[in-house]
Amino acid sequence: MTPLPDDTVAHLREVLERPELPGGRYEVQELVGRGGMGIVYRAEDRALRRQVALKVLRPEFADQGSSIRLRREADILARLEHPGIVPIHDLGTLADGRLFYVMKLVRGIRLDEFARTVGLTERLRVFLRVLETVGFAHAHGLVHRDLKPANIMVGAFGEVLVLEWGIARIMASGGEPAGSGVAAGESDVDTLDGTVLGTPGFMAPEQARGDVEQVDVRSDVYSLGAVLRSLVADGAPHGTRPPPLVSIWEKATAATPEVRYSSAAELAADVTRFLDAQPVSAHREGWLERAGRLYQKYQTAILLVLAYLAMRLLFLVMLGT
């Protein structure tokens, strides 16, 4: 046959990836992004006349295992009602059998992009919202397992959304990995475990080893510590990193889970203490550091007292002359 021209090949590449939606309710408008196994499009919901995000499995992920993962992600999103987790609207199957789900269209930027635009305090406040969201998921028996800046979005008003729950692990009550007690359907997904899922650099050592039984909320704490480190340290000279924050992420990213914070809430408490210029549990401070922290905490009062004393001194000097 005649060789296909470049333009034809480019056209085929595009149309073969585009999802073929049944029923005519949704109209795909624009590709928003590609993830590990899914593609997200902006789409029009013709029934409700609104813009939505549509996530569909990539063509090469049309196998049963990937479908189970996407289905499970949809189930998780439906179960978790929280401002930090994208609400899901619909679930369906494409004409070629691939799963898709429809969710709220999120407008915002990735956490790492956001971090480059604001100061340290604002970065930490946003990080606390991430911790609150992850803590909420933990309280509902879920470990995210792929927390990293690329999976966290920050909206125009500083609202935080934690994305990509496709490889989250369902825990039994008490934070232990789910065993035989998980509901039917959930156990199917657990058969996917054993392969290494996650992102190097943000993945806890037990997760990187594929030690599934060891993965629990502390694995997420590790990832959160790595996220904190990237928020504070990326692009900042070594000497400008506040030692208490360094201690916090070092504790969170300890190789041994037992040494880490036991929960996102405990990590959040230490970050909050730092923001309030209080001593953090992970850091033993020297007297100079303590003085510096107290100065930071009582800066206004100290400056007022110093100004008052300076004026008194000036007044006494003037009286003397």
Partner: protein, 226 residues
């Protein structure tokens, strides 16, 4: 590529040659600056060597993609041929494959910047083109066999149009083929679904692991660089 069953081995080599002859030829033509006749000979000889022996037996999936490995094999083969300064002979007992070198030359003539691309990009571009060509041909044959010529005709006129300017609208296409517009879109959807399946089957046949299959498929779909 190292299947012990002779039939499986033949099928694997057939799939390999079908998809790779074109990128291999273009690589010899441009990267090795071979004249068309030389590049043809080298391509024939390259695959003849693959058919005759365990040419690809040294492939180590953990080190590189198969596609990269084939390109490296091409380089070794071309370097060896150049060193020996031997002129490859056509025929002479070697396998002679029915490959459309003239068509490739015509396409190369249209791509003025081909020589400026790096070898990897060019090899990938030709690999993608080959995969689609092989799948389109398989779709054409499937359509004929199953009596779906009209579906293929819709697909051919719309999706295989040379560029956007010459692509008809659904309405124009429907009028030309005597079909309602809804039928045009249905036929197109069918053909794309079938083509996607055929392309992915070919990719899977040429990969040794799920990981490589997914990485290759990822490079295949979507807008280039997207």
């Amino acid at each position: 590529m190292t299947a012990a069953d002779p039939d499986a081995r033949r099928a694997a080599l057939h799939a390999l040659v079908g998809v790779y002859w074109r990128p291999v030829y273009v690589h010899f033509r441009i990267h090795w600056a071979r004249e068309p006749a030389d590049a043809e000979d080298l391509t024939q000889e390259f695959f003849a060597a693959a058919v005759a022996g365990d040419f690809f037996a040294g492939f180590e999936p953990e080190r590189a993609r198969f596609r990269t490995f084939v390109r490296v094999c091409c380089d070794r083969f071309a370097a060896k041929a150049r060193r020996a300064e031997r002129r490859l002979k056509r025929g002479g007992g070697a396998v002679h494959l029915p490959l459309d070198f003239v068509g490739v030359e015509q396409e190369l003539g249209r791509v003025a910047d081909a020589a400026k691309e790096d070898a990897e990009t060019r090899f990938e571009r030709e690999w993608v083109r080959s995969l689609f060509e092989v799948a389109v041909e398989a779709l054409r044959q499937e359509s004929q066999r199953d009596g779906h010529e009209v579906r293929f005709a819709v697909f051919e006129r719309y999706d295989l149009a040379p560029d956007d300017a010459t692509r008809p609208t659904y309405r124009e296409l429907g009028q030309a083929l005597g079909l309602p517009t809804t039928q045009v879109t249905n036929h197109l959807a069918w053909a794309r679904r079938a083509l996607r399946r055929l392309v992915l089957e070919n990719v899977r046949a040429l990969c040794v692991s799920d990981e490589e299959y997914r990485a290759e498929a990822r490079a295949l779909f979507g807008r280039e660089g997207g």
